[in-house]
Amino acid sequence: MRPATKAFKAAADRELDDLASRALLSLFLQYGSAMRERGMGTFPDPAAALELGAAIRGEVIARLPELLEEFERNATARGARVLWARNAEEACALVVELARERGIRYVTKGKSMVNDELGLNEALEKSGVEPIETDLGEFIVQQLKRPPFHIVGPAINIPVEEISDLFMEKAGMKAPSTDPVELGYAARLFLRGKFRDVEMGITGVNMAVASTGTIINVENEGNIRFSKSSPRTQVSVMSLEKVVPSMDDALHMLRLLTRSCMGLKITSYVTMDSGPRKEGEIDGPEELFIVIVDNGRSRVYADLKAREALRCIRCGACLPSCPIYGKIGGYPYGWIYSGPIGQVLNPLLLGLGETRDLYQACTLCGSCKASCPAGIDHPALLLEYRARDAEGGRALEGGKRRFGEARLFDLWALAVRRAWSWNLGARFLRSILNRNQREGVISSGAGLLSGWFLCRDLPALPRRSFHELARELEREEARPE
C-alpha cells in the first residue's frame, strides 16, 4: 500500500463532510469503548492487568534480539523453517519464491497487517499467484480495493448494501440480501471451495513464544485456522516485535488483546502451532515457514526512545479511545496503521518528513495511553517526534519546518526569561488582537490565528493582564473583602 500520509488534512476534511461516516464513527466510538470497558472489567484488577501487560512488553523491547534468537532456536527444533527478511522486497521475494517452487496458483490469506505493510498481495499477483483474503472484512476491502478503515475491523464502514452487491458479483451470491447470516453464508461457501483445494496458506502472527517456538493466532472467523491447517505448506509472516518470552506471558497478553480489541474474554478461535505436523499426527501442514520481517524496525529498535513504539500488540484499543480518530476514521492516516498507533508507528517506518500531520494532529489528551495494554506513552512519543523534527535530527529524517518558526520560538525564549520583556510582548499582542474586537469579543483574525476563528471567538484581551493587576491586588489584601 502506497503511503498517502501527506494528504492527511484533505482526507480528514472529506471524512468530516461525510455524514454517514460521522454517524458510524460516533456509534463505533461509544460502542467500542463500552465493549472494551466491559471486557477489562472482567479482570479482578484491571489496572494491575494493564501494568503486567506493560511489564511484559517492556521486557520484550529490552531483550528483543535475544528473544528472537531463542524463538528461532526453539521453532527450528520443532521442525519449522525460520526465514529472516530485512525489508519488504526481501520478504515478498522469499514468499513468492516459496510459492513458485511449489507451482502454486493461489494462496489463502489470513488477516495480517504486516502483509499489508509489505505489499505481499501485489507481489504475489505480479508473480501470477492469486492471493485470496479469507477474513470477511479483508475480503471485502480487497475486492473493493480500499485501504483498511480500522486496524481490526477493516470494513466496518462499508454499507451492507454495497457488500451485498459485491458478493453477488464476486462470491456467487444469487439474490441481494442485507441479512448478515446470508451474507456470511455466501462468503463461507465461496471461501470453503478455495480452502478445499488450497496448497499454501499465508497468515500473520499475533504472538511468537520464544521459550517454546510456538506461533499464536487470534481470530473470530476460523479462516486463519483453515488457512493454517488445510494446505500442505503454511507460511506465517511476523514483524519482529511480535515475540514474547514465555507461554505465561503470551497467555496474559492474549487476555489483554481480546479484551482490548473487542471486549471479549477470549475470541472464538485461538490457534497455537509449534512446528509442522509430526510423525503420527493426523493433521497440520507438512511444512511450516516463519518469515520474520524487519522492514525498518531494527533501526527503530536502535533508538532507545523510538523503541517504545515496538511495544504495540495491534489490539486496536487506542482507536476508539481517540477523539480525533472518532471524527475522521482510519483513511486520513494514509497507511496501514491508523489512529494513535498509526501516529506513533507510521512516522518511524515512513520517516518524520513524510508524516508531519500525523504527529501534529493530536491534542495530547492521553486517552490512548490510558487504554494501552502494552504501556505505550503515545503523547510522549509524539512530542519526541515533534522535537526531532524541529531540531532537524537526521536519525528519523526530520527537519524541514515552517520557515521562521524556530526564530519565533527563539524570540519567545528570549522574552520568557524576563518578565518585563514578556509583558512588553503581551501588550504588543494585545494591541494587535484587540483591533478586531467588538463589544468585548474578537470574532476574526487574519493570518496566524485564522484556524481558531473558523468556529470560535476569543474574549477581547482585557486592558490589564493579571501581572498588571497584581500590585493593586496586594493592596486589596490590607482591606477586608
Binding site: 492521553g366 519546518r401 520560538f409 525564549a413 481558531w452 468556529c455 476569543l458 497584581a470
Partner: protein, 246 residues
C-alpha cells in the same frame, strides 16, 4: 498565616486575568495568604508542544528559579502543572541537577481543587450557585494528574447547586493549543460535540478546571450559544462569572 504561591498560567495572565483574581480571593477567604511572584512568565508548554525543547528549557529554568523557594505552589491549569511534573524531567534528561530541581519543585506544586480538598482539607468553601452544573473533565487534570473527585466534591458542596451528569465528560474538547488552530475542522467537530453534550445535560452552567478548555468551549459557545456559560472552577467557587447563567 499560611502562604501559598500562585502559578498563573500565561493564558490566564493575558486573556482571562479575572480567573487569577477569583483564585486569589478564594484562597484569602479560606484563610490562606496568596503570594504572586511578578517575575513569572510561561511554563514553556507551547514550545514543548511545537518541538522546540532548547527554547522550552529556558522557560523551564526560569520557572524553577522563580518558584523553588516556595513551600507550597498552587496553579489553576492541569496542563501547566503536568508540564512541570511530566515534561520538565524529560527536558532535563541529560542534566541531573536541573532535573532534580524540577522534580523537587513538582512535589510542592498543587492543582487548586486538589490543594483545597487534600491540603487544606475542606470541601465547603462557601460557594453558592442556584442551579444545575455539569463538570467537564479536562484531559490533563483528569488523565495527567488523576484529579476528578476533588472538583466534583467542591461543586456538590456549593449551596443550591446540583451536579448533573455530563455524558462523555472525559472526552477531549479539541483545544490542544496549536492543534485548535492548525486542525480547525477536526477541532470544531470535537468542540461542537462537547457543546452538544453540555446542552443535552440540562445544566445551567458548565464548570471546568483548565483555562485552555475554557477558551475553546467558551469561545465556541460565544459564537453558537451565547446564552450558555462556561466558567473556570476558581470563578465558580469564588462566586463570580456565573451571573446570568440561569
Amino acid at each position: 498565616m499560611r502562604e501559598v504561591s500562585l502559578l498563573i498560567p500565561c493564558l490566564v495572565d493575558l486573556l482571562l486575568p479575572e480567573i487569577g483574581v477569583h483564585t486569589l480571593r478564594l484562597l484569602r477567604r479560606l484563610g490562606v495568604r496568596p503570594v504572586y511572584h511578578r517575575e513569572q512568565t510561561c511554563c514553556g508548554q507551547p514550545a514543548i508542544n511545537a518541538g522546540y525543547r532548547k527554547q522550552a528549557r529556558k522557560a523551564a529554568r526560569h520557572l524553577i528559579e522563580v518558584f523553588e523557594g516556595d513551600r507550597e505552589i498552587v496553579s489553576i491549569s492541569g496542563s501547566c502543572i503536568s508540564t512541570v511534573k511530566h515534561r520538565y524531567p524529560e527536558l532535563f534528561e541529560g542534566d541531573p541537577s536541573w532535573r532534580a530541581r524540577a522534580e523537587e519543585l513538582a512535589s510542592r506544586l498543587f492543582e487548586l481543587t486538589e490543594y483545597i480538598v487534600e491540603v487544606l482539607g475542606t470541601e465547603d468553601v462557601g460557594a453558592a450557585f442556584e442551579g444545575k452544573v455539569a463538570y467537564h473533565e479536562s484531559c490533563h487534570v483528569l488523565r495527567a494528574l488523576g484529579i476528578s473527585e476533588q472538583p466534583k466534591k467542591l461543586i456538590r458542596s456549593a449551596r443550591g447547586t446540583e451536579l448533573v451528569e455530563l455524558k462523555q465528560a472525559d472526552l477531549c474538547c479539541g483545544f490542544g493549543g496549536e492543534f485548535a488552530n492548525s486542525f480547525p475542522r477536526i477541532s470544531e467537530a470535537m468542540v461542537k460535540e462537547k457543546q452538544d453534550r453540555y446542552l443535552e445535560s440540562g445544566a445551567d452552567l458548565l464548570v471546568l478546571s483548565e483555562p485552555g478548555c475554557l477558551l475553546n468551549i467558551g469561545g465556541y459557545l460565544s459564537r453558537h450559544h451565547p446564552e450558555k456559560r462556561a466558567v473556570h472552577i476558581a470563578s465558580f467557587l469564588a462566586g463570580a462569572g456565573t451571573e446570568g447563567a440561569n
